[in-house]
């Protein structure tokens, strides 16, 4: 009798517990976020802004990426006010931009066929701030955009109020069409690096109290765990997007061991399909030439007006090779540089250089023709090809010689060939023609081929530049400048 009563009480308790569990789960799963979402600010663009937007050219084979952090009126940091954010999206929409996701970006960098809108843009968020849910989501939806949120997965919150997104909020963002990427799990955590210094553990080995540095193997296993955990969490939210990482520390963050960056890259490559950096001047859009594990993003700041945003995007978008010097926006260093039609006149003393500020990402295989004239006896005129600043092919012409040389980053100059130049008393202009195609360059002077060289693989793209080295004050004129794209060597087109 007692046994029977006990068993029925036990059964009753089991049923009650089950029901209680079900009800608690129900309440937990259905409790809406107590953080209400904010209304979308009303934006009216000026007619100038609308005109400026309407003139934005189509983008071919590239995707500019932008990164936001916090959409709020908080001061400092990377916060952008909801009004500014809405204004920026309004002008992007007016310019005809349409959102793309990580999948398209991956196909693009892999060189696979990808169907991109006429003006694609990848909008991303870092830091998993809750304002992505309360403000950014609705504003994006109003203007027909979606975004990718890179989340430091270790900072996702369980309940509101919270500075960071809650898991539930992130899930709702995914349901609204957002993609999710990783910003490591705890990669921004700090470690002691010196007596009174600390730095992100991602780029630093910890200084132990006994004065020894954490072994690299320890640092590496911690990194492996962190990246693995973060990738798993992200996959739980977004199974469809390719695995992507945004480095949580700025480029050039202090590091007490230079080999860590290579090791970090190695591990990132193992676990992710894509990795993003960010810079206030994200000077390149993502294209098939981009480094898959160091994709640039433009950090959008609060003070960026719609016009400034469009300017920045224009700079990011690669421009095809063109002879229109006006588009190059040449800038002189050490002297002056005057553009007149297809001519460019350098004046100054000593070393003068004139470089375009065009986005020359897609300047790869092309030919340059130019008439070089002027310059005194001790003056050398220089034409740079595929100029990336510290990397370029250069043809230098003086009274007596023509020198072909290349510069590869920190390795300095390497001479590829020297040719005597026939001296003429009248200083008639020299006709210079340089063709670069793949890894080879052919230089012709006055209709005669004078050099055929192979280039360092690092010299793979860039617009031409012009320079002059004079003993005193002098002037050199580069005229009848003509640039023509060449078919890519080895490709059928």
């Amino acid at each position: 009798m007692l046994l029977r009563r006990l068993s029925s009480v036990a059964r009753g308790m089991l049923v009650s517990l089950t029901l209680f569990g079900l009800m608690v789960t129900f309440v937990r799963e259905t409790t809406p976020d107590r953080v209400p979402t904010n209304p979308v600010p009303t934006i009216r663009l000026t007619s100038q802004e609308t005109d400026r937007a309407a003139a934005f050219p189509p983008i071919v084979g590239a995707v500019p990426a932008v990164v936001y952090h916090d959409i709020s009126g908080r001061r400092g940091g990377d916060s952008v006010t909801p009004e500014a954010f809405a204004e920026q999206l309004a002008v992007l929409k007016a310019a005809g931009f349409a959102p793309v996701g990580l999948r398209e970006v991956l196909d693009l960098v892999l060189g696979q066929p990808v169907d991109l809108p006429e003006r694609p843009i990848l909008i991303t968020f870092d830091d998993a701030t809750s304002t992505q849910y309360t403000d950014a989501r609705n504003i994006l939806r109003r203007y027909g955009f979606r975004a990718v949120s890179f989340v430091p997965t270790g900072q996702l919150a369980d309940r509101t109020p919270s500075y960071n997104l809650t898991r539930d909020q992130l899930r709702q963002l995914v349901d609204a069409g957002w993609g999710v990427g990783s910003q490591t799990d705890t990669g921004r955590g700090m470690v002691r690096t010196g007596e009174e210094t600390a730095g992100p553990w991602l780029t630093n080995r910890e200084l132990h109290p006994d004065g020894t540095l954490q072994p690299v193997a320890d640092w590496q296993s911690r990194l492996t765990r962190d990246l693995g955990r973060s990738a798993d969490v992200v996959r739980g939210f977004d199974r469809l997007s390719p695995a992507a990482l945004a480095y949580p520390v700025a480029d050039g963050a202090p590091s007490n061991d230079q080999q860590l960056s290579a090791l970090l890259r190695q591990q990132v490559k193992q676990r992710y399909d894509l990795a993003f950096t960010s810079a206030s001047r994200g000077d390149r859009a993502i294209s098939r030439y981009s480094d898959r594990w160091r994709l640039p993003r433009l950090t959008v700041t609060a003070d960026m007006t719609p016009g400034a945003l469009l300017d920045a995007l224009t700079r990011m978008v690669p421009q095809p090779p063109t002879s229109q010097l006006g588009l190059w926006k040449p800038r002189a260093v050490g002297g002056s540089c005057v553009v007149d039609g297809q001519s460019l006149r350098l004046t100054g003393s000593g070393y003068v250089r004139c470089q375009g500020s065009i986005n020359d990402e897609s300047w790869r295989d092309y030919s340059l023709q130019v008439e070089v004239s002027g310059g005194g006896a001790g003056t050398t005129a220089m034409v740079g090809i595929r100029d990336q600043g510290d990397r370029r092919l250069e043809v230098a012409i003086s009274r007596a010689h023509l020198v072909v040389r290349e510069r590869c980053g920190g390795q300095g100059w390497r001479e590829l060939g020297t040719v005597s130049v026939p001296w003429t008393a009248e200083a008639t202009p020299h006709h210079l023609r340089i063709r670069v195609q793949g890894g080879a360059a052919v230089v012709s002077l006055d209709g005669r081929q004078v050099s055929d060289v192979s280039l360092d693989p690092g010299i793979d793209h860039g617009a031409p530049s012009f320079g002059m080295a004079a003993n005193g004050t002098d002037a050199v004129v580069f005229s009848q400048i003509q640039v023509a794209p060449l078919p890519r060597r080895g490709s059928p087109s």
Binding site: R5, S8, G12, V15, S16, T18, L19, L22, M23, T25, F26, V27, E29, T30, T31, P32, P36, T37, R171, Q172, V174, D175, R235, G236, R239, L240
Partner: protein, 481 residues
């Protein structure tokens, strides 16, 4: 719907609509065995009235049992309150998604209203009336079983002179007719009337012939394998004291409940359907189906409707299934009230093999799909109070297969997320059924009400098949035989 609802919200709402899907269409056991080749499953013969659970009266129960029932009822209340809370929160917090808020509100209100109305239900009052009653029994190839049915009918506790059995032979190819005549001779004159249609004309024709042949005020429809409790008829007719009442449904229990898991689940299902859905419908006087296995109809009410019902056409095909639902539907359309009497009990056999069970379910689903929209088309003026719930039940019920497939298969497959909320809400509703069962009965079957909910949900996409085959009038069982 997923375009306006976030999946999370959709999950809750849809698991609630399972309730609709799960109960509404199954609340109407149709007479089927009367035309089945196997009249009674052999292993169920022994399970007779002696095994019947006691009627559900609180008085005289041990204190422990009373406490258990109270606690179970408390559990049901708690679940309903939780759903109400959820609705309130959704409606107030999610203004931005107005459509989903409205959807959640409507569907949840329907579900809770069933429990609330069922709580308000009380059976019709005993007025002491004893009208003349005719029991119409259509018979097709029943053989000797028809004698048992006739004997059982005449064994009812009701004045003999006021009770007659009208047996209609629907062109049986066996010796049914001979057995009928023998039974007629064995009983006092006037108490058994035999009619022979001469050829097989279908169940509706047989029933219509029986109805026309009698002049009794009240008609009792009983399946050949249904067995009413002796006092059930006396209770059932009391509702007709109200002149506005056209039909009354009794409660049918599953006699072979203990055969296997399938019959246990059906038994629990029947009980919950009657005590929840029919009770709630009865409160507003519009029980949408007075099932042919055990219901009484007022002859005066159905005579004018008889010809149209007998030759009902739907999408150009003469209807052969869902005759009870169609008849109730027509009564409601003519302005009659239909009620439910939970005191009048009967027992019937439920299919114990899955194949037969699924065929039966298909027939019910087909008749539900056909009669639901017809009911909607007139109920808004004949019984406005009952209309909103029928509207919600019909629309949400029709959407339920898609909704269930989406939430349990498509969305989890695409997102990789386990449908936790959906399954949880489903389990909660299943618990509400089980506890409702336990709060009224102690037969150990309440857990089968819980399990059965999942079972019934799992094959609810059958509704799509029913829709596709809605014009197919074949009886299923007969074709297979």
């Amino acid at each position: 719907m997923s375009s306006t609802l976030s999946p999370e919200q959709a999950a809750v709402v849809d698991s609630l609509s399972v309730v609709i899907d799960g109960t509404e269409q199954h609340g109407a056991p149709e007479p089927s065995a009367g035309q089945d080749v196997l009249p009674v499953a052999p292993d169920t013969c022994e399970a007779g009235p002696a095994d019947r659970p006691l009627p559900t009266a609180e008085a005289g129960l041990p204190a422990g049992e009373r406490l258990t029932r109270r606690l179970a009822a408390l559990g049901v209340t708690a679940i309903c309150l939780l759903i109400c809370w959820h609705v309130t929160v959704r409606a107030t917090m999610e203004i931005q998604e107005a459509w989903s808020a409205v959807y959640t509100f409507v569907v949840s209100t329907y579900v809770v209203s069933r429990f609330a109305l069922a709580a308000l239900y009380s059976p019709p009052r005993d007025r002491g009336i004893e009208p003349r009653v005719a029991i119409v029994v259509p018979a097709y190839n029943e053989g000797e079983a028809v004698v048992r049915t006739i004997d059982a009918c005449l064994a009812l506790d009701y004045p003999r002179e006021k009770l007659e059995v009208v047996v209609v032979n629907d062109g049986s190819e066996d010796d049914t007719w001979e057995h009928m005549r023998r039974a007629e001779a064995a009983h006092p004159e006037g108490s058994v009337r035999c009619i022979d249609l001469g050829s097989n004309q279908g169940k509706r024709a047989a029933m219509a012939a029986g109805i026309r042949a009698t002049s009794a005020e009240i008609l009792l429809f009983v399946d050949s394998d249904s067995e009413p409790a002796p006092g059930a008829l006396r209770l059932l007719v009391q509702a007709f004291a109200d002149d506005r009442v056209g039909a009354v449904s009794g409660i049918t229990h599953v006699r072979n409940a203990t055969t296997n898991a399938l019959t246990r689940m059906q038994a629990a299902r029947y009980y919950v359907s009657y005590q929840l859905i029919k009770s709630a419908e009865s409160v507003v006087g519009a029980v949408s189906c007075c099932p042919g296995c055990f219901s009484a109809y007022r002859r005066k009410a159905i005579l004018p409707l008889l010809a149209g019902w007998e030759h009902q056409f739907f999408l150009g095909v003469e209807c052969t299934y869902g005759d009870d639902r169609a008849l109730t539907n027509r009564l409601l359309k003519s302005g009659w009230r239909t009620l439910y009497d939970s005191r009048a009990e009967a027992w019937t056999d439920a299919p114990f093999r899955y194949q037969k069970f699924f065929r039966q379910q298909l027939r019910w689903k087909k008749s539900w799909c056909r009669e639901g929209p017809i009911l909607m088309s007139h109920l808004w003026r004949t019984r406005p109070l009952a209309f909103p719930s029928v509207l919600v039940a019909t629309l949400a019920g029709l959407a339920s297969p898609v909704v269930i497939l989406y939430n349990l298969i498509v969305h989890p497959a695409l997102s990789g997320l386990f449908p936790l909320l959906y399954v949880d809400a489903l389990a909660m509703v299943a618990m509400a059924y089980g506890l409702l069962h336990r709060s009224q009965r102690r037969d150990g079957n309440w857990i089968w009400a819980v399990l059965g909910t999942f079972f019934y949900v799992s094959f609810s996409p059958q509704l799509l098949w029913a829709l596709a085959r809605i014009r197919d009038g074949s009886w299923g069982t007969r074709a297979a035989a």
